[in-house]
């Protein structure tokens, strides 16, 4: 598409928001490259966060996972694994950064609201109002084996627990009236009598009675993020979240359809359409020319999808171990099977799997692809490839048409993978008036342009 008249779009003044997703456990981070640093050293986290802050990003995100992944009867060995506790890591970054938002992915199934709300509120105060909470749920008993409770939650109850959890957390965060602390040492008491409330809840899921220990932060309380893509997850986000992560940010029409669906759900939940920011996860690969960008993308894919990774992805699709096969040879001749649900990961439908494998076979035959090439071409698509100017033009269109509000960027290299974006893409976006040239607020809520907390 050629450059449109900026006024001939639904949102001519829309601004693009960037977050950086420090993934931790994943195979998209190319750990095998010599320039790839430690995945646990605090200097790595600091470098990524400071680069993002230099690029005026809204937020730095950390993922969560409460049990190491497994495959073929043991711990999965191919991916980056091992990550810090997110609130601890972010509390440290709060001391070493100035403006960037700090978002923790924290699970509502294996935490308790009084404790987690307090930890997040602590991060929010220590960072001067820059905390966010990406609310995730789990129900599987396999993760539960690491916790006192074990696998205690029915699948159907995980969102119900999350919603009650969130409502309790909000009560904790709002537990102190404004000006709850005495103004001087001569006051009769440290807190103003009656200004500190209590939070009580007794349902079939929670039996809690506590006195909140913290005031509201500069942004009121942490910004709520959510990532569910199911109808249930989208409704949860429409009712509760300030920001939704999505997997709908590569294709314009797909992104727009998702955004319109979210806006419809927001209206149904009685919230304004602009109450929620949509930040799809993406990877951004930049080259000086389109050709260079494509070559770089090819290098990135080969680094991400090694022969062993390709066999691992194919093993999960086919439902049995293919690790002895030749990834540079043809696709397995066998039909896929679907193992009985073992409580570890999501269930799959055999019909869908058969369809996918049939499509892979057809395209591999037509193009002469090996198994590895097929995984690279047809596996999960990872984002945007182009020149700084081309990408800026494309992103401006996405955001001005209301298909997205920004991206949650996963760098394919850590810690240097954001450098290109900050140095080459951000200036192009700024030139098009679609990206801030300075932070205008101090809190994450202000960065995102969200309304103040009531």
């Amino acid at each position: 598409m050629t450059r449109a008249d900026a006024n001939d779009v639904p949102r001519p003044d829309a601004q693009l928001h960037f977050g950086v997703f420090f993934q931790g456990v994943n195979h998209w981070t190319i750990w095998s490259d010599p320039s790839s640093g430690s995945q646990i050293d605090p200097a790595t986290f600091l470098r990524v966060a400071r680069t993002a802050e230099r690029g005026l990003f809204d937020a730095f995100f950390l993922g969560d996972g409460l049990r190491l992944r497994e495959s073929e009867g043991g711990i999965h060995e191919l991916d980056v694994a091992g990550r810090p506790d997110s609130i601890v890591q972010l509390s440290a970054l709060a001391a070493a950064t100035e403006r960037i938002g700090l978002v923790s992915t924290s699970n509502t199934t294996f935490n308790e609201p009084g404790d987690l709300a307090r930890r997040l509120a602590g991060l929010d105060l220590l960072s001067g109002g820059r905390a966010g909470w990406n609310v995730v749920t789990t129900h599987n008993a396999w993760t539960g084996e690491n916790f006192r409770r074990g696998g205690f939650l029915d699948h159907a109850d995980r969102y119900r627990r999350a919603e009650e959890f969130l409502s309790l957390a909000r009560a904790v965060w709002n537990g102190w009236a404004e000006g709850a602390v005495a103004g001087s040492a001569d006051a009769r008491s440290w807190s103003v009598p009656g200004a500190v409330g209590r939070v009580r809840s007794r349902t079939d899921l929670f039996d809690v009675d506590l006195a909140p220990t913290l005031p509201r932060s500069a942004q009121g309380h942490p910004v709520i993020f959510q990532a569910g893509d199911s109808g249930e997850g989208r409704d949860f986000a429409a009712r509760n979240a300030d920001v939704i992560f999505s997997a709908h940010g590569t294709d314009f029409d797909d992104a727009l359809a998702f955004a319109e669906d979210i806006r419809r759900r927001l209206r149904a939940a009685g919230r304004p359409e602009d109450a929620l920011r949509i930040l799809p996860g993406t990877e951004i690969i930049i080259g000086a020319t389109e050709k260079e960008a494509e070559e770089k993308a090819r290098w990135v894919r080969l680094g991400q999808v090694t022969p062993q990774v390709a066999l691992g992805i194919a093993s999960r699709l086919w439902g049995f171990d293919l690790s002895g096969r030749d990834a540079d040879g043809p696709l397995p001749a066998e039909d896929p099977v679907v193992a009985a649900y073992d409580g570890k990961f999501g269930t799959r439908q055999l019909g869908e799997t058969l369809d996918t494998v049939a499509e892979w076979r057809a395209k591999a035959d037509a193009n002469g692809w090996s198994l590895r090439e097929t995984v690279i071409e047809l596996g999960p698509q990872r984002g945007h490839v182009g020149t700084p100017a081309g990408l800026a033009e494309k992103f401006a269109r996405f955001v001005r048409h209301g298909a997205i509000d920004g991206f949650n960027v996963s760098p394919y290299l850590v810690p240097d993978g954001l450098d290109d974006i900050v140095e080459l893409l951000v200036p192009e976006l700024q030139e098009r008036g679609v990206y801030r040239t300075a932070y205008t607020g101090t809190t994450l809520r202000e960065h995102l342009g969200l309304a103040p907390v009531a």
């Binding site: 191919l78 091992g82 601890v88 404790d115 602390v181 006195a211 062993q308």
Partner: protein, 375 residues
């Protein structure tokens, strides 16, 4: 043979050891819960030359809410404060109080391992216990009642946390490009803990901490002596503290001392009397308490050096007493070589003269390799 240098720790929770300390603080009451104030206290403690700061905690407010005692009822979680302090200092050890009475040991292990990572090996853990049944209601968990049950949750929690720290061998990340393996699964271990009240599978989600295991501090009797690195002992006199230290059975013992020092404007007694108008300074049971001049405290600490390995100071009012400790007490201890500042680039274990433990899951081959390297 002289004992090695006395190790110096200081408790920096709230505004000081006295419940009304906030009335003499150098800041307005609300400033207590700000990053600026926390970073300020940490900077003073680090510059003074302390080896370690500890940070008290509970899910319950530090003082009774709207109660007659009028104490502060606000407190940021100790682990979050410790991580923040770690990132704003460079040589200071940081040890939050964390209780495993109701918390998930899996989370506690991850939090403390991560604190060790973000501090490059300066993390400690003061093993806490939530004795008040109100903590159970705040957590939303069934009450753990009675000394035996509280000790069981502390002990089991500590075992799980330690085993999870050990569950990644030090060299579990192999980054073998040729085989595409980032990890070697044979160097990661399920801990398969089964206690009376719960079980934990493992391994940890956090790679082994830089110190192998963060330094564990606990009062004697709460957890088995063999599982702690530092016993925090009481005793009304240096000799009693020495006896308690010998009985504790941990590698190191620190005496707990409450201190109120003379300042340029007022004597320690006057300062205490000022605060006694609001509330009594009850302090801990049979704990040492020193009230007086800086020189007198130097003498007391010198004497204590013959009985214990270290001290944990609990200043009456942080903003006042830390300044005197910083200007008059610690420099004198360093000049006399009674105590030593931590050296840049060292871990807390190294500062305390504690060895770095191998993972208990370490295979013979890996252990032999370590021995070869350290020979």
């Amino acid at each position: 043979m002289p004992r090695p240098a006395l190790h110096l720790a200081v408790e920096i929770d709230g505004d000081g050891a006295h419940p009304a300390a906030w009335r003499r603080a150098a800041h307005s009451p609300g400033e207590l819960l700000t990053p600026r104030r926390l970073a300020g206290v940490a900077a003073v403690a680090e510059n003074a030359g302390f080896t370690l700061v500890t940070l008290d905690d509970s899910i319950l407010p530090p003082g009774p809410v709207n109660g007659p005692a009028s104490d502060p009822v606000g407190r940021i979680g100790a682990v979050e404060r410790a991580a923040f302090v770690a990132a704003s200092t460079s040589v200071l050890g940081v040890a939050p109080v964390v209780a495993t009475t109701y918390a998930e040991p899996f989370h506690v292990s991850s939090q403390l391992a991560s604190l060790d990572h973000v501090s490059a090996g300066r993390a400690g853990w003061v093993v806490g216990v939530e004795e008040d049944p109100a903590a159970a209601r705040a957590w939303g968990r069934p009450v753990v009642e009675g000394a035996d049950a509280l000790a069981r949750e502390a002990r089991d929690g500590l075992r799980v946390v330690r085993d999870l720290w050990d569950s990644w061998e030090d060299d579990a990340v192999i980054r073998s490009v040729a085989t595409s393996r980032y990890l070697d699964r044979s160097r990661l271990h399920a801990i398969d803990f089964t206690g009376e009240t719960y079980s934990v599978k493992g391994p940890s989600i956090v790679p082994r901490p830089p110190q192998g295991r963060p330094v564990v501090l606990a009062r004697p009797g709460l957890v088995p002596a063999g599982l702690a690195d530092v016993a925090l002992v009481g005793g009304a006199t240096p000799a009693e503290a020495g006896e308690a230290a010998a009985a504790a059975g941990a590698p190191l013992a620190f005496a707990e001392i409450e201190v109120a020092l003379d300042t340029p404007g007022e004597t320690a007694r006057e300062r205490i009397a000022d605060l006694e108008r609001y509330a009594p300074w009850e302090g801990g049971p049979d704990r040492l308490r020193y009230t007086g001049s800086a020189a007198g405290l130097v003498d007391l600490l010198t004497e204590l050096g013959g009985h214990v390995d270290g001290v944990r100071l609990r200043p009456l009012v942080l903003d006042e007493d830390l300044a005197v400790l910083s200007r008059l007490v610690l420099p004198e201890l360093f000049v006399r070589r009674i105590a030593a500042r931590p050296l840049p680039g060292t871990t807390l274990r190294t500062s305390l003269g504690l060895p770095r433990p191998l993972s208990r899951f370490t295979t013979d081959a890996a252990a032999a390799l370590v021995e070869e390297e350290t020979r």
